[in-house]
C-alpha cells in the first residue's frame, strides 16, 4: 500500500487470473495484494498483518500457496494466479469451500480465504493428507476463532469427497 513517490514507470503485467487472461499496469514493486484488492477489486484476499505473518492473503501461483503481501505483481508475469474468488464454478462452492462452510471451518471468516487456498493447494498435491500433513500445510495460516479443530475436520471432509 505504501508506494514510493519516485516510483519507476509502470509496465503492463500479464497473467492468468482465476481462469481469465488479465493485463494490469502497475509499478514494478506493486504488491500482488494491492493489485488484487485495489486495482482489480478482488477483495476476497485479506490483509491481516503488516506483512508475512498471518497467511490471510494466501493465493495460489501455479498451484503453490504464496503470500500476496510478500509477492510483487511482476513476479506473476506469465503465471497462473488463483484467488478465493476463482474456486467456485458457476457460483457453486468447490469441495474445500463447501467443507469449510458445512463443518464450520469458518467463524468470523477473515482468515478463511487464505485458509481455504492453503488447503486447496494441499489437496491438489496430496489428495488424502494425514492430520500431521494438514497441520504442516496450514501452519502459516493463523485463525483466532476456531482453535483449528473444525478447520482440520473441514480439510478431512474435503479430502473424503475428493
Amino acid at each position: 500500500m505504501q508506494m514510493q513517490p519516485d516510483a519507476p514507470p509502470a509496465a503492463p503485467r500479464r497473467f492468468r487470473l482465476n481462469g481469465r487472461d488479465r493485463s494490469v499496469t502497475v509499478p514494478d514493486h506493486a504488491l500482488l495484494i494491492d493489485t488484487l484488492r485495489e486495482t482489480l477489486r478482488l477483495t476476497g484476499t485479506k490483509q491481516g498483518c503488516d506483512g508475512g505473518e498471518c497467511g490471510a492473503c494466501t493465493v495460489l501461483i501455479d498451484s503453490v500457496p504464496r503470500l500476496a503481501c510478500l509477492t510483487r505483481t511482476g513476479e506473476c508475469e506469465g503465471r497462473v494466479v488463483e484467488t478465493i474468488e476463482g474456486l467456485a464454478r458457476q457460483g457453486r462452492m468447490n469441495r474445500v469451500q463447501r467443507a469449510f462452510h458445512e463443518q464450520l471451518g469458518t467463524q468470523c471468516g477473515y482468515c478463511t480465504p487464505g485458509m481455504v487456498m492453503a488447503a486447496e493447494a494441499l489437496l491438489r498435491r496430496v489428495p488424502h493428507p494425514t492430520e500431521p500433513e494438514i497441520r504442516a500445510a496450514l501452519a502459516g495460516n493463523l485463525c483466532r476463532c476456531t482453535g483449528y479443530v473444525k478447520i482440520i475436520a473441514a480439510v478431512q471432509a474435503a479430502a473424503g469427497e475428493g
Binding site: C49, I84, C145
Partner: protein, 771 residues
C-alpha cells in the same frame, strides 16, 4: 411452540457462511468507495508528556492533503461508561501512552498521507511515566488524571458472609499470590472504518469494525456534536472481536472527524501494529488469594485482593474490577467472600473487555488454589468441586441469581471421557492431567446505558413474498448470532430456515441493540426474536381464523400451514389474507427485558456480574512436559459446557473450542510486553497466538440444563469455557512435574527456571543433609 424442534437444536452452518468461504463477504476494508480519501493517524512517541506544540501548517499545505485534525478539533472526551468518559479522541494538552493519537490526516492517497504525517511537528515535554501498577501506586507517582490521585481509577471493597469465621472453621487454608500477564484479542481483522460526510445535509454515514454500532452512534453524536438523526451506522462483516470492539475506539471517531473536515469519504485501515496499540485487552492482574476448606472439602471462605493495571484511560475498567470480585461467586457454594479490588492507571495503551471479561484471571487463581488444597487435603480435584456444587434455583451471597446449573453433569462427562480415574498419576514421567471449572454470564442484567427501554428489541417483517425478514441491531461478529436469530424465528413460525433472512445492525433499518458483548445476544436478542415471532404468529392465526371461518382458538398452527378442523390454509394463503386484513406489509415487534430481581445486589457495584443465566464448564487438560526445553505440549482437552440448550450445536461446539483454545494461548504463550511504554508485541509474530501446530484436539460435550428464562432454554456458549483452561493446564503441569506454576503465561523459560530452581534447592538440601 411445537414440542418437536425442527430448526433449533439442529447443527446449522452459518447463514452467511457461503459468503465467507467464497470471498464474497464484504468487510470494512473491502467496502467499495471509489475516490475515498486515505486516513492516517500520527501517534505519540512519548509515554507521558505535556504537549507544547503540534504544528500542522506544513502538512495542511501539502498538495493532495484534504484535512488535518488535532485534539483542538474535538474538545469532548468519550468513553463506554457514562461515569468514566475520560478519553480524548486525539490527545489534548497531555499525552498518556506511546501510540496515543496526536493528529490525523486525510489525503488523496497513502503516499501523500504518509508524507503529510511526516510534516507535522510535535513538541512534547516529557513527564515521569508509570509502567507498572506498583509504580503508579507509589506515593510519589505523577497522577495521569488530575481527578484520580494515586492513579486509582476505582477501588472496590466487598464483604459477604462471615469471612473470619469461615477461615477459623477451615482445616486447610492456602494463601498465595498469582499473576497473569496482559493479553490482547488479536482478532484476525485489523481495525478499519469508512466514513462519509455530506456537508450539504450535515449527514454522516459510518461503517466500522464495531461490536457495538449503537454505542458508536451515541459517541459520534457526542463527539461531532451531531443530531443522532443525522447519523447512520452500518456494520459490515466483522472479522472477530473478542471484546476489542465492545467500546467505541479512537480511530472510528477520528475517521468521522476527518470525513467532516474534508467534506467527503475517508477510509481508515489501521495496520496490525496500530490495531495492537488501540488495545483494550485483558489487564495485567495480580491476585492475592486466600481460600479455606474443611477436611471434607467444603469451601469455608475466600479473600481476594486484586490489582489490575488498566492503562491510560478508563474504558471498561470499573466494570472489569467489579466483575473480578463478583464472579468469584456463582460457580460454587461459597459462604463467605472478602474482595478488595484496585484498578490502576498506567502510561500504557488502555485495557478493556476481553472474552471472559474480568473473570478469567481470578478464576485462574481460585482454581489453582483449589487444586493445591485438594492435594494438601488428600482429596480428588473432582471430589473437591462436587463438595461445593450449588443447587439451582438459588441466590449467591452477593446477590447473583442462579436459575439453572449443569456443572455436576459437566464434571461427570469430562471425568469419564478423559479416563481421569484410571489415568491420572499413571501417565508416566513428564505427563499429566489437570482439571478446572469456570462459568460466565449470559448478558449483563443491567445495561450500561439505562434508558428504561427493553434490553433487546427485534422486528419481524412479512410481505407479499411470504419471506420473513428479521430486523435486529445485534452485531454478528463471526459468532453466528444472525444464524441463531433466523433459527429462532423459523422455529416459532414453522417455516424453513431458508425462508428467513436477517438484516442486522443498520441504524436506518434495524431497532437499536446494545451490542455483542457479555454473551448477551443469544439470551436477550434470542428471547426478543421469539417474542416477535409469536406476535407475528398471533396475527397470522387471526387472519387464518377469518380465512378458515373458525374461531381463533380453533386454529392450529401446524408449521407452515394452518388447520381448523378439516380445513387447511397454506402459509402463503394466510399471508395474503393477513396482508389484506392489516393493510399491507406486517411488522411484528418483540422485546425482552431482564426483570429487576435479576439485576444484582443492592451494594455499590452490585449490578456487575448479575445475569439471568450462568453458563458452566468443566475441562480436563492432558499435557506432556519436556524437562530439557521447558516446552509444554497440550495433547488433548475434554470440555463440557452447560449452555442451557444448544440452538445451533455446530456453532456452540465451535465457540467452546475457540474459547478453550484462547485460554490456551493465554496460559502458554500470549503476553503483551512493554519497554518504557513501547509495545514489544505489536505484530502477529511477536504476539504469540498458538498456530495449528500447537493446537490440540478439543472434545466437546454440550450439557443442556434448559434454563427457565433462556430462549428455548439456552444460555451463554462462547466465553464460559475460556477461564477453565489456564488453571487446568497449571494443574496438569503440576501433575506432570510436581511444580505449581503461579504466573501466566507458563512459557518454556519460566518453566525451565522453576525446574532449575527446584533442582538447586534439592542440591542444597542434600548438601545440608550431608553436612
Amino acid at each position: 411452540m411445537r414440542n418437536a424442534r425442527a430448526v433449533v437444536g439442529q447443527p446449522t452452518p452459518l447463514i452467511d457462511g457461503i459468503e465467507k468461504v467464497t470471498g464474497q463477504a464484504v468487510y470494512t476494508a473491502d467496502l467499495p468507495a471509489e475516490g475515498a480519501l486515505v486516513g492516517r493517524i500520527l501517534r505519540s512517541k512519548e509515554a507521558h508528556g505535556r504537549i507544547r506544540r503540534i504544528d500542522i501548517e506544513a502538512a495542511r499545505a501539502l498538495p493532495g492533503v484534504r484535512a488535518v485534525i488535532t485534539g483542538a478539533d474535538c474538545p469532548l472526551t468519550y468513553g463506554v461508561l457514562p461515569i468514566a468518559m475520560n478519553e480524548p479522541v486525539l490527545a489534548r494538552e497531555v499525552v498518556r501512552y506511546r501510540g496515543e493519537p496526536l493528529a490525523a490526516v486525510a489525503a488523496d492517497d497513502a503516499v501523500t498521507a504518509a508524507a503529510a504525517l511526516a510534516l507535522i511537528a510535535v513538541e512534547i515535554d516529557p513527564l515521569p511515566a508509570c509502567f507498572t501498577a506498583a509504580a503508579a501506586r507509589a506515593p510519589d507517582a505523577v497522577a495521569l488524571h488530575a481527578d484520580k490521585p494515586g492513579n486509582l481509577e476505582r477501588e472496590v471493597h466487598h464483604r459477604f458472609g462471615d469471612v473470619e469465621a469461615g477461615f477459623a472453621a477451615a482445616d486447610f487454608i492456602r494463601e498465595h499470590v498469582y499473576s497473569c500477564a496482559e493479553v490482547a484479542h488479536a482478532q484476525m481483522e485489523p481495525h478499519a472504518a469508512l466514513a462519509s460526510f455530506d456537508p450539504e445535509r450535515g449527514q454522516l454515514l459510518m461503517q466500522s469494525t464495531s461490536q457495538v454500532p449503537y454505542y458508536l452512534h451515541l459517541m459520534l453524536a457526542r463527539c461531532l456534536d451531531l443530531d443522532p438523526a443525522a447519523i447512520r451506522v452500518v456494520k459490515p462483516f466483522i472479522g472477530g472481536g473478542f471484546g476489542a470492539r465492545v467500546e467505541v475506539l479512537n480511530f472510528e471517531l477520528i475517521t468521522a472527524l476527518l470525513a467532516r473536515a474534508s467534506g467527503g469519504t475517508v477510509r481508515m485501515v489501521l495496520s496490525r501494529e496500530e490495531t495492537f496499540l488501540t488495545h483494550r485487552g485483558r489487564p495485567e492482574t495480580e491476585i492475592r488469594l486466600k481460600l479455606g476448606i474443611t477436611a471434607a472439602g467444603r469451601l469455608t471462605a475466600c479473600a481476594a485482593e486484586v490489582v489490575q493495571r488498566g492503562g491510560a484511560y478508563a474504558g471498561y475498567g470499573i466494570v472489569t474490577i467489579l466483575y473480578a470480585g463478583a464472579l468469584l461467586q456463582g460457580l460454587y457454594d461459597l459462604p463467605a467472600l472478602r474482595y478488595d479490588g484496585y484498578r490502576v492507571y498506567a502510561n500504557l495503551p488502555p485495557c478493556g473487555a476481553m472474552r471472559g471479561h474480568g473473570a478469567v484471571d481470578v478464576r485462574f487463581a481460585f482454581e489453582a488454589a483449589l487444586d493445591a488444597l485438594a492435594a494438601e487435603a488428600g482429596l480428588d480435584p473432582f471430589a473437591l468441586r462436587r463438595a461445593n456444587l450449588l443447587a439451582a434455583p438459588t441466590e449467591t451471597p452477593n446477590g447473583l441469581r442462579v436459575e439453572s446449573y449443569g456443572l455436576g453433569t459437566c464434571l461427570d462427562w469430562v471425568e469419564a471421557a478423559s479416563g481421569w480415574r484410571a489415568r491420572r498419576g499413571r501417565l508416566g514421567p513428564g505427563r499429566g492431567l489437570g482439571m478446572a471449572c469456570s462459568h460466565y454470564v449470559s448478558g449483563a442484567a443491567k445495561p450500561i446505558h439505562w434508558t428504561g427501554e427493553p434490553h433487546a428489541v427485534v422486528h419481524l417483517r412479512l410481505d407479499f413474498d411470504g419471506g420473513i425478514t428479521v430486523l435486529t441491531g445485534a452485531a454478528d461478529i463471526g459468532q453466528g448470532s444472525s444464524t441463531v436469530m433466523a433459527q429462532a424465528a423459523a422455529e416459532v413460525l414453522g417455516v424453513p430456515l431458508a425462508r428467513v433472512r436477517v438484516i442486522a445492525a443498520d441504524s436506518a433499518l434495524t431497532p437499536k441493540d446494545n451490542g455483542s458483548y457479555s454473551s448477551r445476544v443469544t439470551f436477550m436478542v434470542g428471547n426478543a426474536t421469539i417474542a416477535a415471532a409469536r406476535a407475528l404468529r398471533e396475527r397470522l392465526v387471526a387472519a387464518a381464523a377469518v380465512l378458515l371461518d373458525a374461531p381463533e382458538a380453533a386454529v392450529e398452527d401446524a408449521g407452515g400451514q394452518f388447520h381448523a378442523g378439516e380445513r387447511v390454509a397454506s402459509f402463503a394463503e394466510v399471508t395474503r389474507a393477513a396482508l389484506a386484513r392489516e393493510g399491507g406489509a406486517i411488522t411484528a415487534k418483540g422485546s425482552f427485558t431482564c426483570p429487576e430481581p435479576f439485576q444484582g445486589g443492592k451494594h455499590r457495584g452490585g449490578a456487575v456480574g448479575a445475569t439471568m443465566g450462568f453458563s458452566y464448564a468443566a475441562q480436563v487438560v492432558e499435557v506432556a512436559v519436556d524437562a530439557e526445553t521447558g516446552a509444554i505440549t497440550v495433547e488433548q482437552v475434554w470440555v463440557a459446557q452447560d449452555c442451557g440448550f444448544a440452538i445451533n450445536p455446530l456453532a456452540v461446539e465451535g465457540q467452546i473450542q475457540g474459547a478453550v483454545w484462547m485460554g490456551m494461548g493465554q496460559a502458554l504463550s500470549e503476553e503483551t510486553g512493554y519497554e518504557s511504554g513501547l509495545a514489544l508485541h505489536a505484530s502477529m509474530l511477536d504476539y504469540k497466538v498458538p498456530t495449528i501446530l500447537d493446537s490440540p484436539p478439543i472434545a466437546v460435550h454440550v450439557v443442556e440444563s434448559l434454563d427457565p428464562n433462556g430462549p428455548f432454554g439456552a444460555k451463554e456458549a462462547s466465553e464460559g469455557a475460556l477461564a477453565g483452561f489456564p488453571p487446568a493446564l497449571a494443574a496438569a503441569v503440576a501433575d506432570a512435574v510436581g511444580l505449581r506454576m503461579d504466573r501466566l503465561p507458563i512459557t518454556p523459560d519460566r518453566l525451565l527456571e522453576a525446574l532449575a530452581q527446584r533442582a538447586r534447592a534439592g542440591r542444597l538440601a542434600r548438601a545440608l543433609e550431608v553436612a
